[in-house]
């Protein structure tokens, strides 16, 4: 379904094959998205935390009350940070860790499904991308290395200064809708029309896909208004 293939001239990593990409439907699909948005929530409470780590929301303008919503700006280190900190390397709380084995212990997502659906995904403004002839999309993620040895290695072996991530046709369509104006709900509705799949299926896939993008800091979420888009 939604392809998300990480192209790296050195090691091509296929994040998901077509068949594994299906998302289990018989659990609350929107939960995956809620968790993502929830992650942002938990990170924003320690504002200084990201500055040296993943840098994800280091410059975020947080509204600590959470009532008026929050906006996100990306810090300069953002992309380099993605390179240094592999996905999922974010520190896990003890509860989250135990929750992996005992679902009952898992911390509840901070956002409700409705809140998750009104969230607005925004692309990382530091990324460039282009359309391929097959309708796929190539994201160019700048590689920023702090380690001298690795920088030297990159120069010596003439490795590309950007890492490519390829999105398939459907993934590309979602990516283009992440323009900071469409809510998750409206993306889901548009993808419903385009793919002719049932709403639930699309909601599950799109949520999962956005979570993958967010885990790699390619998009972030901004809290939307109360009403449905």
């Amino acid at each position: 379904m939604l392809h998300f293939v990480q192209h790296d001239k050195r090691v091509p990593v296929i994040l998901s094959g077509a068949k594994n990409l299906g998302v289990a439907m018989v659990r609350d699909a929107s939960l995956t998205l809620s968790m993502t948005a929830g992650d942002c929530h938990s990170e924003r409470s320690e504002e200084s935390r990201c500055s040296n780590r993943c840098g994800c929301f280091a410059n975020a303008q947080h509204d600590m009350t959470g009532k008026q919503g929050w906006t996100v700006t990306f810090c300069r280190d953002f992309v380099g940070a993605t390179e240094r900190v592999p996905p999922y390397a974010r520190e896990m709380s003890v509860r989250e860790f135990i929750g992996k084995f005992i679902p009952a212990v898992k911390p509840k997502p901070v956002l409700s499904r409705q809140e998750a659906l009104t969230a607005i995904p925004i692309r990382n403004p530091l990324l460039e991308w282009e359309r391929t002839e097959e309708g796929e999309l190539l994201l160019k993620v700048p590689v920023e290395q702090r380690s001298l040895v690795i920088r030297w290695a990159i120069a010596a072996f003439r490795l590309p200064p950007v890492r490519h991530i390829q999105l398939d046709e459907v993934g590309a369509a979602v990516w283009e809708l992440c323009d900071g104006e469409h809510t998750v709900e409206s993306i889901v509705q548009q993808m419903c029309k385009r793919t002719r799949m049932s709403r639930r299926e699309v909601e599950a896939s799109v949520s999962m896909f956005l979570k993958m993008l967010a885990d790699r800091r390619l998009v972030a979420f901004k809290r939307g208004g109360k009403k449905k888009a």
Binding site: M1, G22, V26, D28, R196, M197
Partner: protein, 300 residues
């Protein structure tokens, strides 16, 4: 105010079926024909749930309902929510009881035992404070059936509708976005029904036949195929045999001694209006059965 809900989508699971609005979807199921549970969610906060249990003789539905409501009340107390409930005999069904209760959510439902098949069913619709729970419950629960009249069960979820003889038990299911699999067995006959989404993307790279032979279960089989039509859609018809040597030997012996068929037959078709690919496969069953199952699939 009573407004029309248009419960047009059929949902069927383990012999239980009901009609819901087209934008509702099955979000959970458990158990089997003897005892099980089905949950269907609306896009909003309304939820329909059905729980069933097969009984041998008449049961006291009042006792079961009390046990259920007591459980709900206890849970509500734990969460410090006030619980109010009401039970009254149903006007439409003899021996059935209707109930309403309110804890964190508003709920309306009924319990009844079918005099024919002896299944005990609790069905309910729940919603938030401002949902028209009673109205919705009345419309949806009216359509609930606990058994089928013709011996064929309707299996329907997320827009897939297929009918199989009652004797087939569900042995495996995968319900994912873009891919659905239901696998059934009755004695030695196995039936698999699959559905893939995004056919337009898939068929950009492959022809239907190439894809059927290389990307589905058929790649594991020694098979032959012909191209044709099914339901006025382009289709590939396949016949084959399992390759694994142990299976092969066992099946050969069975074929000789017990005269059981060893063929696998199936059809893969592309339904353009719904942008989906369907596959029905019958292992070691009658050819006729395959045709009947394909006929029962409502693909668009």
């Amino acid at each position: 105010m009573k407004h029309g809900l248009a419960p047009e989508q059929i949902v069927g699971w383990q012999g239980v079926s009901l009609r819901v609005p087209p934008d509702w979807s099955v979000t959970g199921f458990q158990g089997d024909a003897k005892e099980g549970y089905l949950r269907i969610d609306s896009p909003g906060s309304l939820v329909a749930e059905v729980r069933w249990a097969q009984a041998r003789k008449a049961v006291d539905v009042r006792k079961r309902l009390d046990a259920y409501l007591n459980l709900v009340e206890r849970q509500a107390k734990k969460r410090k929510v006030t619980f109010t409930g009401r039970i009254k005999p149903s006007e439409d069904w003899e021996g059935a009881l209707e109930f309403n209760y309110r804890a964190d959510r508003k709920v309306r439902g009924f319990i009844r035992q079918c005099p024919q098949c002896r299944r005990v069913v609790i069905a309910q619709v729940s919603g938030d404070k401002d949902d028209a729970v009673v109205n919705v419950a009345n419309q949806l629960l009216d359509t609930l059936q606990d058994h089928s009249e013709d011996g064929w069960w309707t299996w329907a979820l997320l827009g897939l509708v297929v009918r199989l003889p009652e004797r087939f038990a569900l042995v495996k299911s995968q319900v994912m976005s873009g891919y659905l699999l239901l696998q059934f067995r009755s004695r030695y006959t196995e039936v698999s029904v699959e559905r893939w989404g995004l056919a337009d993307v898939t068929l950009k790279r492959w022809t239907l036949a190439e894809w059927a032979l290389q990307a589905t279960e058929w790649k594991r089989l020694k098979r032959q195929y012909t191209q044709g039509d099914v339901k006025q859609h382009p289709a590939v018809q396949l016949v084959g045999r399992r390759l694994a040597p142990t299976v092969w030997l066992r099946r050969k012996i069975e074929r000789l001694v017990l005269r059981r068929p060893e063929e696998v037959r199936g059809v893969v078709w592309h339904c353009e209006p719904s942008n989906r690919i369907y596959s029905v496969r019958v292992e070691r069953g009658a050819e006729e059965l395959l045709g009947q199952i394909i006929d029962s699939v409502q693909c668009h």
